[in-house]
Symmetry: D2
Subunit: 140 residues, 4 copies
Amino acid sequence: MSVMSMDETRDFLDREFPQMNDGGRSYHLEAVGPLTARMRLDHHERFLRPGGTISGPAMMALADYALYAAILANLGPVALAVTTSLNFNFLRKPGMEGLIAECSLMKLGRRLAVGDVRITTRGSDDLVCHATGTYSIPPR
Amino acid sequence: MSVMSMDETRDFLDREFPQMNDGGRSYHLEAVGPLTARMRLDHHERFLRPGGTISGPAMMALADYALYAAILANLGPVALAVTTSLNFNFLRKPGMEGLIAECSLMKLGRRLAVGDVRITTRGSDDLVCHATGTYSIPPR
Amino acid sequence: MSVMSMDETRDFLDREFPQMNDGGRSYHLEAVGPLTARMRLDHHERFLRPGGTISGPAMMALADYALYAAILANLGPVALAVTTSLNFNFLRKPGMEGLIAECSLMKLGRRLAVGDVRITTRGSDDLVCHATGTYSIPPR
Amino acid sequence: MSVMSMDETRDFLDREFPQMNDGGRSYHLEAVGPLTARMRLDHHERFLRPGGTISGPAMMALADYALYAAILANLGPVALAVTTSLNFNFLRKPGMEGLIAECSLMKLGRRLAVGDVRITTRGSDDLVCHATGTYSIPPR
């Protein structure tokens, strides 16, 4: 089990990052677990590139957000954890659908958390984007 | 000199990515040159984190966009160049100001273009974020 | 099944990179499969840091080599595929043992192959290092 | 000025990483300065790929080592700083010569140091490889 439940994690994210859902809720926390989190991004007009697929920057925001949710859920409310690095490989054009980001933490240390995020088009197993990222955790 | 002028590059970006400036123009191409481009992002409410500084995802979008502008200006209009990888190091919290992204291409090959992007707060020399990225260039 | 068998892949690697095994064979291809390869690195004195654990550069060579093996096995003999980018997260100090690198290709396109590599200490499930990498595949 | 002189830095590296120069000295610290270091790698048979150019893994070791030297010179002797991430873009095949790595630290904080490394063939300005890396600095 994670330290915070899915509802606690989502409420914390909503309070801390209200602007993520400006213009209507588009990022949906779907699950949290031991060292994991899953987040969905709706296929909404304001995230699209010409052609109708979700843009790279919207995927990058999704990956960062999913990673943050996994850390939060497993560490408890640490509002000040900050991203120190992110690395993305864009593998395929997404489909005309929302995206699912599955985050798995590879390390949750006292000072650094490192995770990877696999983004697929909803309803498909094909990887659209793979990300790895590091957060710095403040001293407690 | 670059292949396309700054005005030509900006017009092409505006036509191709109209959604970048949804809600008002915030990304401003400031210069293009041989293997370089500079882009500015305004300090606008919709890019801010709590605390009033520009968010990580807004910086990532800026870096990707600056890299694309540098490739476009130096290769001519290749609408289909696609990002294949991006890597970010977040170094300092930005100031309460807009951001400047200076992109420099390290390689502009037939198949791949690779560049780095240095993001500073407007009016300061301190690096806020450093990015490197690769675009795949379609066969012509 | 992969295109080349494990023996074919290993023989090709031996011919192409004889210097990998200078001073005695230390890198051992253990398996190849559909989009995968597994390689082992012995715990040999010439790869050690003070303290007796395998060094970062030896792990980086291992990851690069495992990725190459996975591409080779799944594409057939393409001696000229070249690494274009590699990204590493070092997660824990390895144990006093050899290392196992499990590579999985996330994309095997006509021009680019992208994979991730998970390195563990032999006999343990803890990730020591995670890598992602891209190879450029020459036109055929 | 850096905290340690070039001679002090080199002596420290030699004591700490004697195995870097197994088989004869090949890595040469050429300069240290405020947030910078320069290191040279000889064009020696044991680093070569077929074709006679220096291999990717040898370049990765060089970049990591140059980054470590820059941190050491600017922080004083901190033997326990450890690499947490490294990212490489391989841009061109090197020439039939030694390589020069110029490292510049973009951040030297209390907990993390981040730098970039530009590798060129000796006597040329063309970038062969670009690296960025992060070291974790132990509490003092």
